[in-house]
């Protein structure tokens, strides 16, 4: 019975496909796989906006929105209506076509990456052989749309914001990819389905998740930090710093296009969190072997919600990083640490199971972390200020 509940969506899809004539089956199979994702993740986006505003409010000792609906639950509806009915202002000197296409490209790229995420057992839209590579490739198209948005708005603020955003996204793409290499190494394949299947076993009641290894937890932390930076979330939201350059690269967008950018950013956040779950937290696998009766998609979304709450928590806590602090952090700390993490994962693989490999790899990772952070802190030199006109 639990099997049926677990595979309910797959069974429904096969049942519906039975009613479709043979020639149309491939295309309707694709559509039937894609439509739930297109419905579920924007719904999650709506829920996240309310969760974030209420959560941030409570953390800042205030209520969040509580006027629209019970506990503000209909706030996204109000936001949607507002953004749809706002006047769409495009600057006269803006590049009209590129200005229009930028949010479109961003949303397309953000939606495309959901094709390789395993949401449950046997529930993935496309089981690609090089799924992880597909994810990172499409993720890099987001930067192109950021450039389009920033350049076409023909405004200094947006150009500056776009430059900073692209610099930040490129710098953090390296630790993102390299920290996922450890999971790929451990699983032995680039296919996301294989990576999750490798983590779905249990020894006793303990799961085989990669996060429960020293290289796994380091990889997870690096991946989450890089994911925060990739989707321009606090504390890395310098490109869209609300109090400084107002809205950065989407300053000239109003109404629904702004909502599309917002949607794309949050979808990117969900996609990278889902990827972190796939790589390190075991995808749709239950944490203990006696909990496998709960359906796999429930576990997936539960973990996703936990990570989203972690994002919101971090946003409510940390101040914004300055641009140079951000770049230093990426290139001088995260990148070497992720490379050393790969070495550690390799050592783990070749050493026999037991206490020694735990200590060796943990020591390697912790030591490099401490030394790198010391190096990062020492590099702050203070220039002697010279004044040109004051004596």
């Amino acid at each position: 019975m639990f099997e049926t509940i677990d595979q309910i969506f797959v069974l429904i899809k096969h049942w519906l496909l039975g009613y479709v004539p043979g020639a149309l089956q491939p295309i309707s199979s694709a559509i039937l796989s894609v439509v739930p994702v297109i419905i579920a993740f924007p719904l999650l986006f709506a829920i996240t906006t309310v969760l974030e505003r209420k959560g941030l409010g409570r953390m800042q000792n205030r209520y969040g929105p509580n006027r629209t609906g019970w506990f503000g639950i209909l706030q996204p509806m109000a936001d949607g209506i507002k953004s749809l009915t706002k006047e769409d202002i495009v600057p006269r000197t803006a590049d009209q076509l590129v200005h229009f296409l930028a949010p479109v490209v961003m949303v397309i790229a953000s939606f495309l990456v959901y094709a390789v995420l395993p949401i449950g057992r046997n529930m993935v839209i496309a089981d690609l052989n090089a799924g992880v590579l597909f994810f990172f490739a499409i993720g890099s198209m987001v930067e192109l749309s950021v450039f389009m948005a920033g350049w076409s708005s023909h405004s200094k603020y947006s150009l500056l914001g776009a430059m900073r955003a692209i610099a930040q996204m490129i710098s953090y793409e390296m630790p993102l990819v390299l920290s996922s290499v450890v999971a790929i190494m451990a699983a032995g394949s680039l296919s996301t389905v294989t990576i999750v299947n490798m983590q779905a076993g249990y020894t006793g009641i303990w799961p085989h998740w990669y996060v429960f290894t020293p290289w796994g937890i380091t990889g997870f932390v690096i991946f989450m930090i890089a994911a925060t930076a990739e989707s321009n979330r606090c504390p890395f939201d310098m490109p869209e710093g609300e109090s400084e350059i107002i809205a950065g690269y989407f300053i000239e967008y109003s109404g629904f296009k702004f909502a599309l950018f917002f949607l794309a950013e949050y979808l990117g956040m969900f996609a990278t969190s889902a990827m972190a779950i796939t790589f390190f937290l075991g995808g749709w696998a239950a944490p203990f072997s006696f909990l496998t009766w709960i359906p796999s998609y429930v576990w997936f979304f539960g973990k996703l919600l936990t990570l989203i709450c972690a994002f919101i928590w971090v946003r409510g806590t940390l101040p914004r990083l300055r641009m140079d602090q951000l770049m230093n952090f990426a290139w001088k700390f995260m990148l070497p640490l992720s490379l050393i993490n790969i070495v550690g994962a390799g050592i783990w693989h070749f050493m026999p199971a037991g206490f020694t490999r735990w200590t060796v790899v943990s020591l390697l990772v912790v030591l490099s972390c401490v030394l790198l952070s010391r190096g990062l802190r020492r590099n702050k030199w203070f220039h002697v200020r010279t004044y040109r006109f004051a004596s």
């Binding site: 409570r58 953390m59 000792n61 940390l318």
Partner: protein
């Protein structure tokens, strides 16, 4: 320790988050408009005209001296003096405003009109929820909308109103005393005149230098 600051920060926000559900004192938000914060007594929003008694027409303290109109910085007051006079609270005949308009979309609540009014006729109200959908006339308050009773003034600014009432009562008492004294003097003058007239009527035809002397003696005695 590495990352200690971040961990402490996260603990702090977590404490805020869970604490806000446990004890409500953490949340200092006031759910306007169901709950309101109490206003202090010296709150001021827009001016209103004070009238004594129950009827705004005869009781309005404003005598259309137009000082507030001249002193108002954004010139939001518009007064049209009346043609006739009506008696005010002390009985003296005064002008009154035939038209007294304040445009509260222009008014900046500086209270200068209140400070310069010599008759304590215009004071600051505490009502602020006066939005209107009529962009042009909805925020133009005329004399009838502006006139509010002295009881209302006592209710919103008790201390101030008490002081004003005391001052006005004192003034009116003094005025009454002065009026009574003047009335007595007038009565005495009239009586003296009547007595003199009676004396002049009853006495024989006076000699030219006899009548001025008693009249002069009477008037000189009176002025002492």
């Amino acid at each position: 320790m590495l990352g200690e600051g971040i961990v402490k920060g996260l603990a702090e926000t977590a404490r805020n988050f869970f604490g806000s559900y446990v004890n409500k004192e953490r949340l200092t938000t006031v759910q306007f408009p169901e709950e309101r914060l109490p206003q202090i007594e010296a709150t001021r929003d827009f001016p209103f005209l004070v009238y004594d008694g129950t009827d705004p027409e005869p009781g309005l303290r404003c005598v259309a001296c137009q000082i507030c109109e001249k002193e108002c910085p954004p010139k939001c007051i518009y007064i049209v003096k009346s043609a006739d006079k009506k008696p005010d609270a002390t009985g003296k005949a005064q002008f009154y405003p035939a038209q007294f308009d304040i445009d509260i979309s222009v008014c900046m609540s500086c209270q200068i009109c209140v400070e310069v009014c010599p008759f304590d006729a215009i004071k600051m109200d505490v009502e602020f929820e006066m939005s209107s959908e009529d962009r042009f006339g909805g925020l133009l308050l005329d004399k009838y909308k502006l006139a509010k009773s002295n009881e209302y003034y006592n209710k919103i600014h008790p201390t101030e109103a008490g002081a004003v009432d005391a001052a006005l009562a004192e003034e009116r008492a003094k005025a009454k005393l002065a009026a009574e004294a003047k009335a007595k003097k007038d009565a005495e003058v009239a009586a003296a005149k009547a007595a003199a007239a009676a004396a002049a009527a009853s006495a024989p035809p006076p000699t030219p230098d006899a009548t001025p002397a008693p009249a002069a003696a009477v008037t000189s005695g009176e002025t002492k």
